[in-house]
């Protein structure tokens, strides 16, 4: 067993370990990649196989791969696997490769029987022993890091070994970086953080490298905010200033001499602009901040200066970072290793230009009343952090909700910037997604229909039908009314199945276990059934629908969430009010009407293309998929598809995510996203 736990040979506990192994084999909890809805669409009955759904990788001991999977999904899956506690196993169903994951403990075809067989094998392996004397380490390539050394003052100085900075002589500090991507793009970050619940605290980065000075106006608090015209900072509302006005703004440096001068006379000073001084309280004319009172402590500071000055005959060299380090001869600071700099006679601390924002923060505090050394100031701590709409300044956290998040479609990434538990901003994406079936050249029409169906595992029928219709229009062939009727009835069956899958996901999201179970079971029974079977299942489906309509608080819970304006580009299921509750009832209604549509049908089958021969032409078709209107424009040349333009509902609907969830509470935001029923397979990666 590859993911076994380590143990010693013939230990005292080995009889107990045997019992534990057999118990573990009874408690299989799986993380489905990409998600449970794809397992459902493939007809996998997880509860029947005794597999529970894990809330996250930490609670799983089986990684169930529904192949084939995109490279990005496999990368995310490898991270999830690395997070799973031992003993852990990989179960791969279907055809396809899955590196960088380790070899699968069990494989099988992508059918319910295949799942049963493979799970049985997993249980056997586990029961034989989840402990091994020798285990293999697994490192997800995406998580591999290496230590590099960088100068705290000059981030552009990077070295593989510890040493000193060639520019300033400071000791280089170790820093962890990813080995896989040299240029970290936001997307890689999303993948890296996928399913890893580590809070990455976002603090505004100080723009050390923004030396190119193209911007004319800049925010004194947020150096990354730059503008060509004067105005206010969008983050904190301060007046933007010209960089040359605030001397050395990029480093928040404050010349000590200016500080000292102001302390002699002025009682109030701007925390950002020490040259702005006043005898009365008020606001800074440059940035609008309140002036702060200057203290006697400042006098002591000044006293220090004079002592510096008086000792300057003896002390000629000092550290730019640690003014208390004074030496007679040039050399290096014993504290930080920087080269000592010669003190000029007029006591100008030239070194401060390179002293960076850290020191700027301290200088800012040097003059405040009653501050003890080492006092942590709120001003300093929240310096540069963004401000919430309610005016509170907090640390925002960025957390990934996907690609394997319970209650959201698997493969969809949703990275939320959270202020407390309020969503500030969302970044959405898909780790799987549209691949042009024509990327290897023109395809025969029938092959194109099949390829498009495989591309869309969550709505195969609808997209096959779309391709068929578009090609038939292009080939000027038309299906007979009987075939049309069968197609519509099959589409209705897929709509029922799709909505049932969505209901199961909603049940999981809201903690309605019974709904989650029953909707999933019904999906498995309906999704490939013939009309007679569906007829027989109708009472059971109707019972679920009426139970959902009667569930206390459910409609009310959904009604306050996800309201779309009438102008929104929404063409999915909707009723008179386009809230999450409206879409929920609309889906329930669609299930009921689709059941009626199937009633008259003689048989149901996936749409196949009528014979178009070697036709040439162009065709356009639209199909109301379970998620909304999809359209396809196709160009046919002698029976082969040469170009195709596909527009899917999820492409339009994903743009609605941000306006729907901004400034909403986290739980509401997740319900709102789920109510859109996005399919990551319909999105561009």
């Amino acid at each position: 067993m590859i993911g076994a736990r380590e143990t010693t040979e013939g230990g005292f506990f080995s009889p107990l370990q045997n019992i534990i192994s057999r118990a573990t084999a009874q408690r299989l909890s799986c993380l489905v990649v990409p998600g449970p809805e794809l397992a459902l669409a493939s007809g996998l009955d997880l509860p029947a196989a005794g597999l529970a759904l894990a809330a996250g990788p930490r609670q799983a001991n089986v990684l169930l791969l529904v192949l084939p999977l995109s490279e990005k999904l496999l990368t995310a899956a490898s991270i999830a696997y690395a997070q799973m506690p031992r003993p852990r196993m990989v179960l791969a169903l279907g055809e396809g490769t899955f590196s960088p994951l380790p070899e699968a403990d069990a494989t099988g075809p992508l059918t319910s029987e295949g799942l049963m067989e493979a799970t049985k094998k997993l249980r056997q392996i586990m029961a034989e022993g989840i402990f091994a004397t020798k285990i293999d380490d697994y490192d997800a390539p995406a998580l591999q890091t290496r230590i590099e050394y960088t100068c705290p003052m000059h981030p552009e100085v990077v070295s593989d070994e510890p040493g000193s900075c060639p520019k300033c002589g400071m000791f280089l500090v170790p820093k962890e970086t990813s080995t896989t991507s040299d240029t970290p793009s936001p997307h890689d970050h999303a993948t890296m953080a996928a399913s890893r619940p580590a809070a990455s605290v976002s603090s505004a980065e100080f723009a050390h490298t923004a030396d190119d000075n193209v911007a004319k106006y800049v925010c004194p608090m947020h150096p990354e905010v730059t503008s060509d015209a004067p105005g206010n900072c969008p983050k904190c509302g301060m007046n933007l200033v010209k960089p040359d006005e605030s001397e050395g703004h990029g480093h928040h440096t404050h010349s000590h001499s200016a500080h000292a001068d102001s302390e002699k006379t002025a009682k109030y000073v701007c925390p950002m602009h020490p040259e702005v001084t006043s005898n009365e309280p008020g606001s800074c004319p440059k940035c609008g901040m309140f002036l702060e009172e200057v203290t006697k402590a400042g006098g002591e500071e000044q006293h220090d200066h004079s002592s510096h000055a008086s000792g300057k005959e003896a002390a000629k060299y000092t550290c730019p970072m640690h003014p208390e380090v004074i030496s007679d001869s040039p050399g290096q600071c014993p504290k930080c290793g920087m080269n000592l700099e010669q003190q000029t006679t007029d006591d100008e601390h030239d070194g401060h230009q390179s002293s960076g924002h850290d020191h700027g923060g301290n200088a800012l505090l040097d003059g405040l009343i009653g501050l003890e050394p080492g006092f942590m100031s709120m001003i300093e701590m929240t310096d540069g952090t963004p401000r919430s709409s309610n005016g509170l300044q907090m640390e925002w956290i960025t957390a990934p909700f996907g690609p394997f998040f319970p209650g959201l479609p698997g493969g969809l990434t949703l990275e939320l910037e959270l202020d407390g538990d309020t969503v500030v901003e969302a970044k959405t994406g898909s780790l799987t997604g549209l691949q042009d079936p024509l990327k290897n050249g023109p395809l025969a029409a029938a092959d194109y229909v099949a390829a498009l169906g495989v591309q869309m595992p969550l709505a195969t029928i609808a997209y096959r039908l779309l391709a068929c219709r578009a090609i038939e229009v292009a080939g000027n062939t038309f299906a007979t009314p009987e075939i049309k009727a069968i197609r519509m009835a099959t589409l209705a069956r897929e709509r029922i199945a799709s909505h049932l899958s969505w209901l199961s996901q909603l049940g999981r999201q809201l903690g309605l276990k019974a709904v989650e179970r029953e909707a999933a079971t019904l999906h498995l029974l309906v999704h490939a059934a013939d009309p007679a079977t569906i007829q027989a299942l109708e009472p059971r489906v109707k019972k679920l629908l009426s139970k959902l309509r009667r569930t206390w608080f459910l409609s009310r819970r959904l009604a306050t969430v996800g309201a779309l304006p009438a102008s929104a580009a929404w063409d999915g299921p909707t009723s008179h009010d386009n809230t999450a509750a409206g879409r929920f009832t609309a889906r329930l209604d669609e299930i009921a009407t689709s059941l009626n549509e199937i009633k008259g049908a003689s048989s149901l089958s996936a749409p196949t293309l009528a014979d178009i021969g070697t036709a040439t032409g162009e065709g356009h078709a639209e199909v109301q998929t379970p998620r909304g209107l999809a359209s396809l424009h196709i160009k046919l040349e002698s029976g082969k598809v040469v170009s195709a333009t596909l527009k899917t509902p999820s492409m339009r609907h994903i743009k609605l995510v941000n306006p729907l969830i901004e400034q909403r509470e986290l739980a509401d935001a997740l319900v709102a996203v789920a109510s859109l029923d996005l399919s990551p397979w319909e999105l561009n990666t």
Binding site: A23, Q26, R27, R58, P197, A198, I397, T398, G407, A514
Partner: protein, 299 residues
């Protein structure tokens, strides 16, 4: 002797709660379920998160267990079968449960994960609001018994159980108790669909086992308190005292766990609005009504 009996009762009680919890979420009654789950968790690696706060991470599950156990100390199963009959027993119940809050915040903070942290802070708001709704109905129970001792409270219900004498208080206490034990639909701190497990998300292996054990004891404790304060504790005909206690406690547990599964998880905002805007005024009305009743119909 009574110490042995109490430990036995606790073990059986926690096991029964675990079976009921499994039944409520999987719809199957598996009598050996908790044993197998415990063994499986023992076999699982107990992962220590990379950027953890070790002290908080390790302490939280134990503190949850200890807090819940402490709150059980004032529950009488029969006359004389009680850990300690404190003169302030009814208030001690609420005081002990305050540690649950601390434990959950520590569990959320410890592993340095967003899900856990949000879960912990969510519970802060939840517990502060509902701790009020636990204390205020307890006040009326004590008003009738004219004592805070839990034994006296049970004896005061000899003629009429409090569920009949003060039904409003019962409803408030039951809901608040469920919120304190964060059972569905109040499982905001460890919601699966919203926080992928929240405060529990990063716990695996033995630590997770302790955490879940603490949770079971907490549920048992809330159910026992409901029984003692409102359902007449051990009082009942024919059967021995301890049997009545056991039956009532397990029935309350089953109702609590199964009933919650029928409702969608409550929104954080709604949950707090219910407590502060609706629950507390009602609890004040309850205090007034019971005050009048105690004066007019002293039963």
């Amino acid at each position: 002797m009574s110490a042995v009996l109490l430990i036995l009762a606790l073990t059986v009680g926690v096991y029964a709660v675990a079976v009921l919890e499994d039944w409520a979420s999987h719809n199957r009654l598996r009598l050996l379920g908790p044993v197998i789950s415990t063994l499986a968790l023992l076999g699982q690696e107990s992962v220590l998160h990379r950027k953890n706060d070790r002290l908080f991470f390790e302490t939280a599950p134990i503190l949850l267990l200890v807090g819940a156990l402490l709150s059980l100390a004032i529950i009488p199963l029969a006359p004389g079968l009680i850990v300690t009959d404190l003169a302030t027993g009814a208030l001690f119940f609420n005081a002990a449960l305050a540690y649950v809050l601390v434990a959950l915040i520590m569990a959320g903070w410890g592993p340095d994960g967003a899900y856990g942290m949000i879960g912990g802070w969510r519970f802060l708001g939840q517990l502060i609001a509902y701790a009020m709704l636990v204390v205020m109905p307890i006040t009326t129970v004590a008003m009738r018994a004219e004592s805070l001792s839990t034994i006296t409270i049970v004896e005061s219900q000899a003629q009429l159980w409090n569920i009949v004498y003060q039904p409003l208080g019962f409803v408030l206490f039951a809901i608040a108790g469920m919120a304190m034990a964060f059972v569905p639909p109040f499982d905001l701190p460890n919601a699966e669909g919203e926080l992928a497990g929240g405060v529990e998300a990063e716990y695996t292996g033995v630590r997770r086992m302790v955490f879940r054990l603490g949770r079971m004891v907490l549920i048992l404790s809330v159910a026992s308190a409901t029984t003692v304060f409102y359902l007449g504790g051990w009082l009942g005909p024919w059967l021995p005292d301890w049997a009545w206690s056991a039956i009532k406690i397990l029935a309350v547990t089953a109702l609590m766990l199964a009933g919650g599964r029928m409702l969608p998880r409550v929104r954080e905002g709604t949950l707090l609005a219910w407590a502060w805007k609706l629950g507390i005024p009602l609890a004040l009305v309850n205090i007034f009504l019971v005050g009048v009743l105690v004066l007019v119909v002293p039963l």
